[in-house]
Symmetry: C2
Subunit: 398 residues, 2 copies
């Protein structure tokens, strides 16, 4: 077999080796004629959503943008119906348009490589961008742009192998979501960067403004936590002094499994979760990413109209990753709700009587569990995790 | 006066010191309690649109995205009217929507600091993003998102001074364009990065597909070339060995003037230029950015329906910058049409009998010249600059 055919074949097997990402063959650099030590995650010093500007710094910095919008700018009128102008701080911008009562719902996100498989990295980046639309209950994306920075440290060969794979992953995920990638921007940069922009033009009934939580609602989470822990633990397999810290609580096989579960989870679209929000009358949702479960829960709580607070009792975590996080001391703050996630699940406020049906329906349609993790109480628009939350291992057993 | 009041006052003077950017006080780091040696442009090793992935590499890499769109995907039908799907390679993506014959016109761009004044950098970044919409004849932007990377090398103090100024510049430019910034993404990154996303939802008659050039048309350019040369020459004032190469052809004052003219030009919106495209029946346009005048002219020529070619005879250049470019040998390739521009002018195909009126009108409305720089001949969809193009100094005299 020729070299070229060899490489194509390897790519083909990786891309089409199985519908289930957990069964997908791991990315093998040598099959692409790259050095066996090639690691995509080494082309940035920060990982995934860990690259975010800290929440409190961001609030300070963006005040420059917000201060000039006076109260009457907050709403636009169309046929005497107020359309809220939703801006900075929530998952998407919602902008009333000049045309026929329509709105533009738009979001952007980009970050650094979090996994070493370029194709999966592209899929995860796309799922992560779309997740902000899904959090607003929007199920159809009209257009995507791709944002890409090629690392200055990549060789030409590495670039020519890796970038098309990332692009293809991104595009395949967009196709799965029923949308297309029509453009974007690419630059060179010290750190490899990948992200995009997702836009939808829709009627106001197509999105759910996330501010209607009421006392008695429950909180549902649609993906397990622990993606950041899993990708770090996976890197530590090659780093003895790090590995020694966790080897008493996990085996190498546990970590490899967790890593593949994390990749599978991060690349999964929250689209069904969004569609079911309408069916079960969700009162609002957000997606869990860089600021961790508690960070995003707090932002969501702060935006509620009623005087409510969120209390979280259960933490579904990718199997064994809670133990890894504990073995690392305070490093991840996973059980405190601060561990960054990439392309995490939706955190949804649902009427209590609908939540169980929601979880059952999503499991039936997707084959993945969702969990009731907390409740909405009377309160001052904050969120907290109880002292000793119950950790739910996902899956419960192998 | 307290320290805080001092800083605010300095910012106030810089921001409101004059309507004309050429008269604006230069950015003074010490007025913001930063070190006198602070230079925003040092927070990236590449400048402005010089950071683009080379055109030929990009073509190869994006082939992964294009190959799966078959011919019937290129157009969507609405009420039996074909709406072209315009994608990768042109200035904007144009996407037919599910709603009432409307289209989404969308673009994104981001790059590294090109000037040391953070406020002006924000304005330039915004004008540069919007320019892609204007090149399509779109005059109203419905929404902007801001993309920002804070350099890992900035001190907290530097970050807290610089980032709000950049944001404010970006936002002021958006307001000037009649639009608002409703969100975005910010990360930390080795190099400071600034950019955005501009989106418009419009009817098909609101944009001009840039493919209708006919033999006999003329080419008009709405801003002078030489921004990259000017910002580099300005940095060389502090670098004796570089400065020695050009000091025989320019004085320090010439360079400072050229730098301020470049900043003024880069921060100017191409909005009036876009509006007049409709009035004078433009056959298509593009904006001049990272690939230089000839690079973008070639892309525009390649997209024409008729068998035409573009021939460029005149090169309007910021005063003295052609001499600087010549003194630097082949470094910029300015007179060959390859020098990168940031937020450059529109290059517009106009019917010959309308071009002079177009130029007169834009000068009347904006106080800035536009130039007829070339013609459209019969040909094979390429563009070239004649052997000894006429260089037009802008302005002709001080």
């Amino acid at each position: 077999m020729s070299y070229a055919a060899d490489v194509l074949n390897a790519a083909h097997l990786e891309l089409h080796g199985g519908g289930d990402a957990e069964l997908r063959r791991p990315f093998d650099p040598t099959a692409h004629d790259l050095d066996a030590s090639f690691r995509l995650t080494r082309f940035a010093d920060l990982k995934g959503r860990g690259c975010k500007v800290p929440q409190e710094v961001l609030s300070k910095l963006v005040s420059a943008l917000q201060q000039d919008y006076s109260a009457q700018d907050q709403e636009a009128q169309f046929l005497n119906v107020a359309i809220p102008r939703i801006g900075i701080g929530l998952d998407c911008a919602v902008i009333p348009l000049r045309h026929g009562g329509l709105c533009l719902v738009q979001t952007t996100d980009f970050f650094y490589p979090i996994v070493d498989d370029p194709y999966m990295m592209g899929k995860i980046a796309c799922a992560n961008v779309l997740s902000d639309l899904y959090a607003m209950g929007v199920t159809d994306c009209d257009n995507m742009l791709m944002l890409l920075a090629v690392s200055t440290k990549m060789t030409e060969k590495e670039r020519d192998v890796v970038i098309p794979l990332i692009m293809r992953g991104f595009k395949d995920s967009a196709l799965e979501a029923g949308t297309t990638v029509t453009g974007g921007q690419s630059v060179v940069n010290p750190w490899c960067t990948i992200g995009g922009v997702a836009s939808t033009i829709c009627q106001p009934n197509e999105y759910i403004v996330p501010d209607n939580a009421v006392v008695g609602d429950v909180l549902v989470l649609t993906k397990p936590l622990g993606t950041q822990v899993a990708v770090n633990a996976h890197q530590w397999i090659d780093q003895p002094e790090r590995w020694n810290r966790i080897k008493l609580v996990v085996s190498e096989e546990d970590v490899r499994k967790a890593y593949h579960r994390a990749m599978s989870s991060m690349s999964r679209l929250n689209r069904v979760a969004a569609r079911l929000m309408h069916k079960y009358n969700a009162h609002g949702a957000t997606d869990i990413t860089g600021f961790g479960l508690l960070g995003h829960a707090q932002t969501l709580a702060a935006h509620q109209k009623k005087d409510v607070s969120f209390v979280i009792h259960n933490l579904p975590v990718i199997a064994k990753m809670a133990a890894v996080a504990k073995a690392c001391g305070n490093m991840f703050q996973l059980l405190q709700g601060h561990s960054a996630e990439t392309s995490g699940g939706l955190l949804i406020c649902l009427p209590r009587e609908q939540a169980a049906a929601y979880c059952k329906d999503i499991e039936k349609q997707e084959g993945y569990q969702a969990w009731i993790i907390g409740i909405v109480e009377k309160g001052n628009k904050t969120a907290r995790i109880i002292d000793k939350p119950r950790v739910i291992e996902v899956p419960a057993k192998d």
